[in-house]
């Protein structure tokens, strides 16, 4: 999560207009870090004095949190106002305050600024499900409660078996020594000590152990991407909204099927491919969509050059290009494809994933591929016919054909990188990490607790 600083203007019910500098984290980032991604999920924010927003007649969704106002501001969880840290009630409005920008110049937005924010309820809740009272949440915590996907989305069988085994050991340790007379023998293994070690170890590391081993991360640099088999083709683009702009151009890039299947491998349980841009934009493809060959024999690509020139400006150095599934402009009944053609691409997530990578943390020009990785398939034989091969040769390129066109390229070996950040993230998920966290007295921690339910249980 990265903090943002910006001036927020507010109008209250007294018609007082104020502008103050706020520093905080976008609400959407906080939610995402807790596993809340469904844009339809409703949100209610609570303060210990009983205030909540939105009120009984209002509605706020995760999609609203992503929305920026005309000047580009988003809703924040603020912790600094005018350069000063917020203090908790009763003399302050912190340590966290929900800050919402004005979406129109005249909007009375101050009532939505929830002071002393403690609890975010992600709904709709099940009948009878009670969120924790904001009064009982200490000022050092923010509780995100409700339809939150679990921090540990993996089997709970492991800890249960471990706990059962541990208990068995404990019982054995209590019962057995009584029968034996020679328990003064120092060479005997100390049953209690073993039990303790087993129990504590299981207890402390199970969340970390349950983070799937298959979850990995590979970072490709621009040079490595350019060394991969590439495709240069003529792509057409149609926007989804009026005036349905239609344009065409030649792009060069790495075919998504090559990247996914030959370079990193897609895990067995993978369902979706999510492409993340540095500004937080995401494009979601099904695995089939990512592997498909589109009309005209086109393949989806991660493009790095347009008409032979490297991508620049707002296209970033990488752009996802998904061909139209039905070619043509709006009048010809073409299929809009620009929503999927994400610019400024930084990472590709193979979902479901136990790891998360902040796309903004990936250096410009590099591409991180992470999530449910499998084993890379070898590139097909030099003369492949059907498979997503490096030689699709459709609507061929005219003026651009980089050297990397050669099939069966040596392809730089990319060994999975275990970033220190990722190890730290997994460790902080474990109990041992949490205990250390508490000891270190981190002044403010974001925690999720309460009922954690996977989105699979959504109605």
């Amino acid at each position: 999560m990265t903090s943002k600083t910006a001036d927020y203007r507010s109008i209250n019910r007294w018609k007082t207009v104020t502008t103050t500098k706020w520093k905080g984290v976008p609400v959407v980032d906080v939610l995402k870090s807790c596993g809340v991604t469904d844009p339809r999920a409703t949100l209610t924010l609570y303060a210990p004095d009983g205030y909540f927003w939105p009120g009984p007649s209002g509605k706020l969704t995760v999609a609203d949190m992503k929305k920026a106002n005309p000047t580009g501001l988003v809703r924040l969880i603020g912790y600094e106002e005018g350069g000063a840290k917020l203090s908790p009630e009763p003399d302050g409005t912190g340590p966290l305050r929900y800050v919402s920008p004005q979406y129109s110049q005249v909007e009375t937005n101050k009532p939505s600024w929830v002071s002393n924010l403690r609890v975010i309820v992600v709904g709709p809740l099940k009948k009878g499900e009670k969120p924790p009272s904001a009064k009982k949440v200490p000022s050092s915590e923010l509780v995100v409660f409700g339809r939150v996907s679990p921090t540990y989305p993996y089997s709970i069988a492991f800890p249960i078996v471990a706990a059962a085994l541990g208990l068995l050991f404990l019982v054995a340790a209590i019962v057995l020594p009584r029968k034996k007379k020679e328990d003064t023998d120092p060479s005997k293994i100390n049953g209690a000590a073993v039990t303790l070690v087993v129990l504590l170890t299981c207890f402390l590391i199970w969340p970390a152990a349950s983070a799937r081993a298959a979850d990995g991360q590979v970072v490709f640099t621009m040079d490595q991407l350019k060394a991969m088999p590439s495709v240069t083709a003529h792509y057409t683009f149609l926007k989804q909204l009026p005036p349905y702009t239609y344009y065409e151009s030649d792009y060069t890039g790495v075919p998504l099927p090559v990247l996914l299947d030959q370079k990193v491998g897609v895990g067995a349980g993978a369902t979706k491919i999510i492409v993340h841009a540095s500004d937080g934009y995401t494009a979601e493809l099904t695995v089939d969509q990512a592997r498909a060959t589109y009309p005209g024999g086109l393949l989806p690509i991660i493009a790095y050059a347009e008409k032979g020139k490297p991508l620049t400006g707002e296209e970033g150095s990488l752009r996802l290009i998904v061909p139209q599934s039905k070619q043509g402009n709006h009048d010809q009944g073409g299929e809009p494809n620009t929503p999927l053609c994400a610019r400024m691409v930084r990472s590709v997530e193979i979902s479901p994933s136990g790891v998360s990578v902040d796309p903004a943390s990936v250096p410009e020009g590099s591409l991180a591929v992470y999530g449910n990785l499998g084993t890379p398939q070898p590139a097909p034989a030099p003369a492949p016919a059907p498979a997503p091969a490096p030689t699709p040769a459709p609507t061929p390129s005219n003026n651009a054909s980089p050297a990397a066109q050669a099939p069966s390229s040596p392809a730089a070996v990319n060994t999975p990188v275990t970033s220190a950040k990722r190890v730290a993230a997994i460790f902080s998920m474990s109990l041992a990490g949490r205990v250390l966290d508490a000891i270190a007295c981190v002044p403010f921690r974001l925690v999720t607790r309460g009922i954690v339910t996977s989105f699979r249980n959504w109605p």
């Binding site: 019910r13 009984p56 003399d91 302050g92 200490p138 000022s139 303790l196 508490a438």
Partner: protein, 168 residues
């Protein structure tokens, strides 16, 4: 052997109890802050330039008591109906020598919240400085007294009163 087992169990117990301790401490700290506010709000400053008086909230009990049935409408649209009792704001001002009429009152709360109340609203008989809600003392986090302005929405109902400034 037995001793080891005992030590092991103690360590385990301690490990389970420790995380709880941290939270307890934070709650206690906020309780400390709350009592600080409660003490500070025992006195209200009434500033009527050039005069400034410090009034103890406890002295209000000698004034005539007023009970108001009202609906508190908070900014989010939530409505809470209840019965508040205390003393009329106009009586408090009169008892401290604030001459009428004035333009408006600028009322400041302990957390820095400021509300402006015009003369017409300030002298209404159902504008009171309440010390009790439904016959019981106010919840502690609202301070010893709060403003109840039955004719107006919640943003006039200022809690944790610390200062009343008269603007003429």
């Amino acid at each position: 052997m037995r001793r080891n087992l005992l030590i092991a169990l103690c360590v385990l117990l301690l490990a389970t109890a420790l995380p709880g301790c941290g939270k307890q401490k934070v709650l206690l700290e906020s309780e400390k802050r709350l009592s600080g506010m409660y003490r500070a709000c025992q006195n209200i400053v009434i500033a009527d330039p050039p005069k400034t008086t410090r009034v103890a909230v406890s002295s209000f009990s000698s004034l005539q008591q007023q009970t108001v049935n009202a609906v508190l409408k908070r900014s989010n649209g939530m409505k809470i109906s209840g019965t508040w009792s205390g003393v009329k704001l106009s009586d408090v001002l009169a008892a401290n020598g604030v001459a009428t009429p004035f333009k408006e009152l600028k009322i400041t709360a302990y957390d820095g919240y400021v509300g402006r109340i015009s003369y017409d609203i300030a002298v209404m008989p159902d504008t009171i400085v309440a010390s009790r809600e439904s016959g019981k003392p106010l919840p502690r986090d609202e301070g010893p007294v709060r403003l109840v302005v039955a004719s107006q929405d919640g943003f006039y109902w200022i809690r944790m009163l610390t200062r009343i400034e008269v603007l003429r």
